[in-house]
Symmetry: C2
Subunit: 360 residues, 2 copies
């Protein structure tokens, strides 16, 4: 099989962790007899520098011609003062999501055995572990709803955004959450603010309807404010969390931080044809860029997600995941995952990549 | 001085903790020569049972005739299946906030020395303590913005909510945050989602303008998703968090949970005339209602906030707060604040009230 991958390394640590993902994918190609064609395109800050905008036409065309997008990370202090619309993150990610209608965002967050001490949670809570999958709607809600803008003048000037959801939009993301739950612990917690938002009232209705088609899955509803709290007290009681775009933005970041190891987390954003964008959950970390110390695992795991979800190459995907687990279990770790007294055992970005590629 | 207080005990533990707040206020009246007239009104579930709606006209009239509202808590399983608009919490709190234009919500959350073990945070993080004040805009944003509703049919049926903020609304809540910061650690962190929301872009602009009038206060901006994360890692670096209505709902609950002792937290909701509603941060806790074990401290502290903010009786307010601190420092605690092995030393709701009243 032959696949075309649009590679968008981006800014900060993006290029260096992407190099390791490429290394691992090259190994996977040989082992599993796959043929992948990689083409690199600028995105984010570097695209602003080279082309004047965070998502140049050439990059978009390249993505259109590809079977999947492997995304690094974008943004950094250099572009922070630009107007919001022109900034790397917003200016690249939102148009990509909109253009390819990547409505389904999967953000898994698991507290790995042996890494409990990384979690900011109290030891008796982190000792119980957790494994949460946030299923986030990614092309609707208040991110894209119209009208959005400003009107009026002086003190009366006002800004407005519209949160908007149709039954169809809620239905398709809810199905994905329930299907995912069937392959996990069979529980969906739908996050909303039905005591305030009309969108959330419709959300609950549709989710209840979809639930009828999945009698083996338990459904619970929780308000976003309460969800934020309960995740701190009993993260182990959640399985799949089904969220609208805005609430998923918050919940997925909260669960990522609860693992304490963002460098291990990746996410998949897909449309209904299986086309997708795969990226690490963490940011471009400009403070550590170029030092060869960034953790490439999240980027490598995003390549595994690409193999699984866009290319249906389950064997290759799980081979990568097993190789990563082997590295972690062996205590083969980058510095940020080691306690201060063990920091001298830290592996570099490329050492991690080598180890994982060899373990395939 | 003579003050009229509308007392709205509500449901669950509301009435029993309110009784203790009344006990303490009676003591305060004598010590400080104040004259307070208390009139009780039904609100929430009990108002649904007695009058058919969560905020009866008689209760609203009573609040209008008063100088402040002392609110208990509302809601419980009995009323959970009602349509969202008719439910105790939404049906009572939102109309009260709207009717009296209680635009300013103050939610302090402090990790008390000696209660670090209650926090769900890792011990090295909780050991550093934290003291955060969430200043939440309470009558604008997506809670009240029009249009809000539904349209269309079948799969195309959609729901919509409007987030809306004017310069005037942002300006007045921002000023309160900066003034509060002047009396604290002189730092305001404004929470928004300016990379997505037009409202947040205006929010940042206005907050930047207001900041110019407070050169002694440091201002930072943070995205809501990142705020949710950073609070888990370094809560001690936050002082005043300035939030819109929806983001404040989330942040205030997160910081409350981070203390691990919601029974100690109260909040003030005020309008520009000094009129206010004062309530505990926790809920009606129907599971422990009627057992005499609920912690009355949050309700008692909400009475202190009433004295301070609505009646400008600072001496009386701080006398209550000192009495509460004395109880906590003495280890005089209700059961939920004690570790399992000390649970037999737990004080009852009324013992707590007695102790604090005596300590005034
Ligand atoms: C950059 C920003 C627009 C984006 C979002 O809010 O979706 C980011 O926070 C994310 O979660 O991918
Ligand atoms: C009951 C609900 C409408 C309310 C809110 O969202 O404001 C509550 O969560 C609160 O924070 O006081």
């Amino acid at each position: 099989m032959s696949y075309k991958v649009a590679v968008l390394p981006g800014d900060g640590i993006g290029p260096e962790v992407m190099a390791e993902a490429r290394k691992v994918l090259t190994e996977v190609e040989q082992r599993f007899g796959l043929d992948m064609q990689f083409t690199e395109y600028d995105v984010g800050g570097i695209a602003i520098d080279n082309h004047g905008c965070p998502l140049p036409e050439s990059t978009l065309k390249g993505c259109e011609a590809a079977d999947a997008i492997l995304f690094g990370s974008v943004g950094g202090p250099k572009w922070e003062k630009l107007p919001p619309n022109d900034q790397p993150e917003r200016g690249a990610l939102l148009p990509l999501r909109g253009h390819f209608e990547l409505f389904c965002n999967l953000r898994p967050a698991k507290l790995h055995t042996g890494l409990e001490h990384m979690s900011p949670l109290r030891s008796d809570i982190s000792a119980r572990g957790f494994d949460v999958l946030c299923v986030r709607e990614l092309t609707g809600g208040i991110y894209f709803g119209k009208p959005k803008g400003r009107q009026g003048e002086g003190e009366a000037e006002e800004a407005f955004d519209t949160m908007r959801y149709s039954r169809r939009e809620i239905n398709r993301i809810a199905r994905i959450a329930f299907e995912a739950a069937q392959g996990r612990s069979k529980k969906v917690t739908s996050v909303d603010k039905a005591n305030v938002l009309a969108c959330s009232v419709l959300w609950r209705e549709v989710v209840e309807e979809v639930a009828k088609d999945f009698p083996d899955v338990t459904l619970e509803h929780i308000y976003i404010d309460n969800a934020t709290m309960q995740l701190l007290r009993r993260p182990d009681e959640f399985d799949v969390m089904l969220c609208s775009n805005l609430f998923g933005d918050i919940i997925s970041d909260e669960i990522a931080m609860l693992t304490g190891s963002m460098g291990l987390l990746s996410s998949a954003s897909m449309n209904s044809t299986g086309f997708g964008l795969f990226e690490p959950a963490g940011g471009s970390a400009p403070d550590i860029a170029g030092q060869g110390i960034a953790n490439p695992v999240a980027q490598i795991l995003s390549a595994a997600l690409m193999l699984r979800h866009s290319f249906k190459e389950e064997d290759a995907a799980s081979a990568i995941e097993r190789a990563v687990s082997k590295a972690l279990a062996a205590g083969y770790l980058t510095g940020e995952l080691l306690s201060a007294d063990k920091r001298d055992q830290a592996k570099s970005t490329s050492q991690m990549g080598d180890y994982i590629a060899n373990a395939i």
